[in-house]
Amino acid sequence: MSDVPSDLKYTKEHEWARIEGNRVTVGITQHAVDALGDIIIVSVDLKVGAAVSAGKVFGVVESTKSVSDLFSPISGAVVAINEALKDAPEKVNESPYGDGWMVAFETDGTSAELDGLMDPAAYSAFLGSL
């Protein structure tokens, strides 16, 4: 079974969101990493300060085998981008929930969008249904 940390929220696009107050950090899940294989490009088409709405494509992640869009799980303003992935995309393979984080957003924190994300149990059940 895929690693599904208990302190995160999840989307059906296999992204995770770490919610700390108004700050939401986003990456892709172990399941996504396993499906993609060796990741060689993480390309985020955003700049710090940009406003993003939920469900919007904000970049792509490429492995030897395939290309996948990255979807913003929530609406907000970009406050940080993991620039280290430009030169070391393999960090996503090595540590998808840690050094492999991709973008951090600032939200108003009360958004119903946050409630729409899956909790770990729901995401595990979703993975089981695939």
Binding site: G37, V57, E62
Partner: protein, 370 residues
Amino acid sequence: MEQSSLKKTPIYDEHLRAKARMVPFTGYSMPVQYTGLVDEHHTVRKSAGLFDVSHMGELVVSGPGATLAVDRLVTNDVQGLMDGQARYTVCCNEGGTILDDLIIYRVAADNVLVVCNASNREKIVGHFNQQLSATHEVRDISDDTALIALQGPRAMEILRSGVADGRAEELPAFHFADMPVFNVDCTVSRTGYTGEDGVEIFCPPGEAARIWRSLMAAGESAGLRPAGLGARNTLRLECRMALYGNDIDDTTNPLEAGLGWVVRFDKADFIGRTALLAVKEAGLARKLVGFEMTDKAIARDHWWVINDADEQVGMVTSGSPSPTLGKNLGLAYVPAGSAAVGSALRLRDPERGRIGNAIVVKTPFYKRTR
């Protein structure tokens, strides 16, 4: 497609045991990767990899003059094969476009084995039945045949543990023979789809898993690992081997696909000859070329080749990072005027709008040093 409706090869359980990621592929549940595509790719180039390619189609054409009869259905010279010799070819329709690419094995003058792509099996069986007279029988033995490819510089050394007297090593490239492999009667062929030395082993389905396990055990110390469809694709692409459905199909002819070397206008008449001769005389409007990306982009299958006005003028048919060369490579149909080595290509991802730049390079991208 529902997982449950997918066919399983006789080696399916071994893939699950090795924790392969299984994907639907031409109606079969097939391993796309085990430990990882790149690892598997390097393993085949440096040591050896084991591939389950039991999904491939096999048919036997038998009857008086079967070799001559098949010769008329394919573009390459099959009539000139010796018993025990195999040859790569394409099979065209009257219009000169490609129904499938095949390997033809001459067992005897009256007995020919044809290996076709899994996706084209029914089409080819139908085509052969339609084109051959009643004196020739076409038997589809795909379901009674498992196929294991052992590929890599250490493949022959590994095979030695299952084949007596070095019989397999005596086979020149593109030759085959019946011989016991781990005491099971098999047909061993010095062919493959990776650009490395190695064999493909046709074996009875009931024994295939045992042969697989025996080879894995025999090859352990040499670094043998199972390899999936993902690595198979990058390995074949580096050697510019065509993939049916991507680089060639029934809208492309072998001349523009760079497969002129398998079209023998100097042999007896064959289906598609007239059309292909007309293509040759008129000159090619487009050509399948190899390209190398000159920026960070990775062009993928179905990206467009575009001109300065951003109009589509061609198509990427295969595109991928090359694990061996550390570059991003691909094949694309381009206008004949842009086909020369060194020509600059602009490529566009039609889905995401991204642009990449490439130059036409010589193929094969990779050739093993013997």
